[in-house]
């Protein structure tokens, strides 16, 4: 069976969930060979093997952390040349897309970004994309070269499928361009203890209706009662009420959870672009005409400061 290269997104050896989803999708079109780079790369092997990686190519070098993107492109290209895969898959993170973009140019192959599903087709893998703020679903394939495809988080249910996961060192010689953009400082983001926004099964978001940073605990309390991640609209973020990393929408994160709860959010097209594919959508808004109500499975027209705390209490009571 043809081998499929899968780029591994990990933090110091801890594999992030979108990569496990990628391995699940990769098995539909071939045998996954994982490429794991940077500090802790070898430690990713057990999790990757557990989810179907037949081989794990690893490389550790200071260049991966000290310079932006290009060293990883050099490494993936080396893996590409060593394996001659039938497709190369990346998670749709900012970095994943950029590595994919440069690889596509180097190997002269077409690229599809932000796939939400992947199937084997007669002429190669067929990717489903959700476009125009999720108003349309397209099916595309790469028609020239080896398909380079990036896949959005939450696009597949992770399935375990134990495989050999044999670790092999990947030979990488860095190009002259690899050291072009220096990372002069890096400040890791502090963990809030809440689930990651793009990976969470439930997301509770607050918008301009929350009225101020001092009121966001109302949203957080509901999120915590449900074990959910906290999101925010751009209006709330721009006002400085919540960090930009929590923004949901076209220029923020795309989320596709089982349940999305919007509190005090009107539902502008750019916000919908980031949450419209959520399985169940709920909104609390005092304006019965708010466009968000066109999307909901359940909506409450009312003041969020009345409805949300009552809901939080009720969730706590029901959960015991």
């Amino acid at each position: 069976m043809a081998e499929v290269l899968v780029f591994v997104d990990h933090v110091d050896g801890a594999v992030r969930k979108p990569t496990l989803e990628l391995l699940t999708l990769a098995r539909r079109i071939g045998e996954p060979v994982a490429v794991s780079l940077g500090s802790g790369a070898e430690n990713t092997a057990p999790a990757l093997a557990e989810h179907g990686a037949v081989r794990v190519l690893t490389a550790e070098a200071p260049e991966f952390a000290d310079y932006l993107v290009v060293p990883k492109v050099d490494a993936v290209q080396a893996a590409f040349e060593a394996v001659s895969p039938s497709a190369v898959l990346f998670p749709s993170s900012a970095e994943g897309k950029e590595i994919a973009a440069r690889l596509a140019v180097r190997i002269g192959s077409g690229i599809i970004t932000d796939a939400v599903d992947l199937e084997a087709g007669e002429e190669g893998p067929v990717a489903t994309q959700s476009v125009f703020a999720a108003a349309f679903t397209t099916r595309s394939r790469v028609s020239r070269g080896t398909p380079v495809i990036t896949v959005k988080p939450n696009s597949a249910a992770v399935e375990a499928a134990p495989a050999a996961g044999a670790v092999e060192a990947l030979e990488v010689s860095f190009s002259e361009k690899a050291t072009g953009t220096k990372v002069v400082a890096r400040t890791p983001r502090e963990s809030t203890g809440r689930p990651d926004l793009t990976e969470a099964a439930i997301v509770v978001s607050g918008g301009r209706g929350v009225g101020g940073a001092e009121n966001f605990p109302v949203v957080e309390a509901l999120a915590d009662s449900l074990g959910a991640a906290v999101g925010a609209s751009r209006a709330a973020v721009d006002a400085g009420w919540y960090p930009h990393t929590n923004q949901v929408g076209q220029t923020g994160k795309t989320v596709s959870p089982q349940l999305y709860i919007a509190a005090g959010i009107s539902g502008a097209i750019q916000h919908r672009a980031g949450m419209q594919t959520s399985k169940t959508i709920v909104a609390v808004n005092k304006d019965a005409e708010a466009p968000i109500f066109d999307l909901v499975d359940y909506g409450v027209v009312g003041d969020l400061f009345e409805v949300v705390p009552q809901l939080t209490e009720e969730v706590k009571t029901r959960k015991g």
Binding site: A94, S143, V315
Partner: protein, 261 residues
């Protein structure tokens, strides 16, 4: 020496309009108004600020797109850019990301540049790949997704707010940067700016000006093929209740019924 800045701007269908696909599965541009991608306004703004800080700078705005795409260039010129380049050719219809990056790279080389500024993503394709592709094709550093950017003594520095960390980046010019919508509000064109824009030069180039063969771009030359596009079925109308004091509890009952609690 003058700092030559090229800003890549895309002409896109208005996101608040009814966007859809034409029969050949390319974007239907006839039914929806087009405009300068809002995310590229941030790129123009940062270019203007960088130019202000430089002793001597010249900003060229560049677009690859149909005839109407001139509107996007006019908007950028009225914000304060100095001149514009419009790459327009019938054979460009249906060009994908790889093809677009080829055309942009050739046009940038022909214009001459020290710094290329892109938006973080277009508002139609939203791929977010063009800046990286341009850096690769031009063989220069990529300093991308910046929420803060400055240029001094031939060095570009910027801040990139990533998923897991915030990074401070640095590269020597020439370079390609892209900026996010966190980089600072874009200015509105002034009346004076709008009047001045009418007199600014707009060069029109076609594929032969850039030595690109028609078969390497357009729908025929595309590296990707769209096989189908279907409109997402409208969501079935949900239940909407008015809060009469029990709204939170009613919502809890719905969530319990759906097994979220």
């Amino acid at each position: 020496m003058s700092l030559r800045i090229v800003v890549c701007v895309k002409y896109v269908p208005d996101a608040t309009g009814d966007r859809h696909f034409a029969e050949d599965l390319t974007v239907d541009r006839d039914d929806v108004d087009g405009l300068l991608s809002e995310l590229d306004e941030y790129a123009v703004e940062q270019a203007l600020q960088i130019a202000d800080e430089a002793d001597d700078a010249e900003i060229t705005v560049l677009t690859v797109g149909p005839e109407d795409a001139k509107d996007a260039l006019r908007k950028a010129l009225s914000m304060g850019a100095d001149k514009a380049v419009h790459v327009e050719d019938e054979d460009l219809h249906g060009t994908d990301a790889l093809g677009t990056s080829l055309v942009l790279a050739r046009a940038i080389e022909k214009t001459g540049y020290d710094l290329v500024v892109c938006g973080m993503a277009s508002t139609d394709g939203t791929m977010g790949v063009l800046a990286a592709m341009l850096a690769e094709r031009l063989g220069v550093p990529q300093v991308s997704l910046l929420s803060e950017v400055s240029v001094e003594d031939g060095t570009v520095t910027g801040r990139r707010d990533g998923d897991t960390a915030t990074e401070q980046l640095q590269a020597r010019l020439p370079a390609v940067v892209s900026v996010t919508d966190q980089s600072g509000e874009a200015r509105y064109p002034s009346f004076k700016g709008i009047m001045a824009a009418k007199k600014k030069p707009v060069a029109s180039w076609d594929l032969s000006d850039l030595d690109i063969e028609a078969e390497d771009v357009g729908l025929e030359g595309a590296w990707t093929a769209v096989e189908g596009a279907t409109e997402r079925p409208a969501r079935t109308a949900g239940t909407i209740v008015k809060d009469e004091g029990e709204g939170g509890k009613q919502l809890a009952a719905f969530l319990a019924e759906r097994k979220f609690i």
